[in-house]
Symmetry: C2
Subunit: 215 residues, 2 copies
């Protein structure tokens, strides 16, 4: 099943999925676009427009079936399939992801982790074995790895990304904070910049403070 969905709608899909999963846990069976919009801070028409991109399934006067939506959106996002990934860099953040992030809920699985520290060699974290960084290339060439998760220092980000891509990795989840200079071809790169989020928080906090001071 293929859809031509605009990037704007795609950006909203993960949030819709979160809400559908939440509503399902609350045993809500159906919901109107208006009700959902109120909860999500979106207009009812935006929601209807978005859902129409992949089939709609709503019924006039009935609203949308929550489980159906959850399944459809989950299917579009591929959560029932499994993309294999490796974590490169087992510092605090890498360890946090391996230990606590529920990859399987999003259609992913961490099959191996890599780090340079000798004391981490052979460590097993949440079922994932840490291997020496020197074994990364061999592992990638011998196994079908879809995604490299980069949680290593910035200084090694470029060369590691390029190595991963040379070895057939198709996507990169990039926590290093840098943007890649090198040509990574048609590799899908998703950058995570926690700083953007914090700066946004700071902006609104200071704006609110300034507003109050004017009163």
């Amino acid at each position: 099943m293929k859809y031509r969905i605009s990037a704007n709608v795609i950006r909203r899909l993960p949030r819709y999925l979160r809400w559908m999963r939440f509503l399902e846990r609350q045993k809500v069976e159906k919901i109107s676009s208006g009700d959902l919009g109120e909860r999500m801070g979106l207009t009812a028409s935006q929601i209807r427009q978005d859902f129409n991109c992949f089939g709609g399934f709503g019924q006039q006067g009935y609203g949308y079936n929550v489980s159906d939506l959850r399944r459809d959106i989950g299917s579009i996002l591929g959560v029932d399939e499994t993309l294999s990934s490796v974590v490169i860099g087992v510092g605090n953040l890498g360890r946090a992801l391996i230990s606590n992030f529920r990859f399987s809920e999003y259609g992913f699985r961490v099959t191996a982790a890599f780090d340079v520290l000798p004391e981490l060699r052979g460590a097993v974290i949440n079922g994932v074995t840490v291997r020496p960084a020197s074994e990364l290339e061999d592992y990638l060439r011998s196994n079908d790895v879809d995604v490299a998760i980069l949680t290593l220092p910035q200084a090694y980000a470029n060369e590691t990304a390029e190595l991963a891509v040379r070895c057939g990795v198709r996507g990169i989840w990039n926590f290093t904070g840098i943007d890649f200079d090198g040509d990574l071809g048609d590799t899908v790169v998703e950058d995570v910049h926690l700083s953007d989020s914090l700066l946004t928080l700071g902006y609104y906090l200071r704006a609110r403070q300034n507003t109050k001071e004017d009163i």
Copy 2:
């Protein structure tokens, strides 16, 4: 200095700041909207429109002065001021933030951390002392804390957020994955959903795969 800047522009400011800082490190002194747009994947007119919201400072034929832009955008985002914050939950993610996240570059400072584990009590991570969770309320009431960073299990997210807000915290950086049910008043809440980022990566990876299979 106050600006009426739309939410869409505000959302782009952190990324502009990152680029200006990067260009400064590269010793680039000036840049045209066209050149910057090419590097950032934005149109020149979008960039000019955005910069006009807070003064512009570009000169026809000259382009923009990188350091000036870095200072102006940094100033709007408040990076030279300091908002005090506490980290609540010193698991892998909390520890990652305390150890590695460069808060001061974004106008923040972590003054204390809290956790329930007895063995963490008194631990000093990157200069931040971990205190027992039982001391959270007293600390918040005795100190001027602007932001609570929630990196604790979901089960305790709501009650902790409500406690923090009752004690005067004005902003919450929320890594727990839940959306807050309770009324947090006009507290600024910034949710971090790493899963949204991973789902987006997965979507584009699978879409690319599907496209190739059709050829």
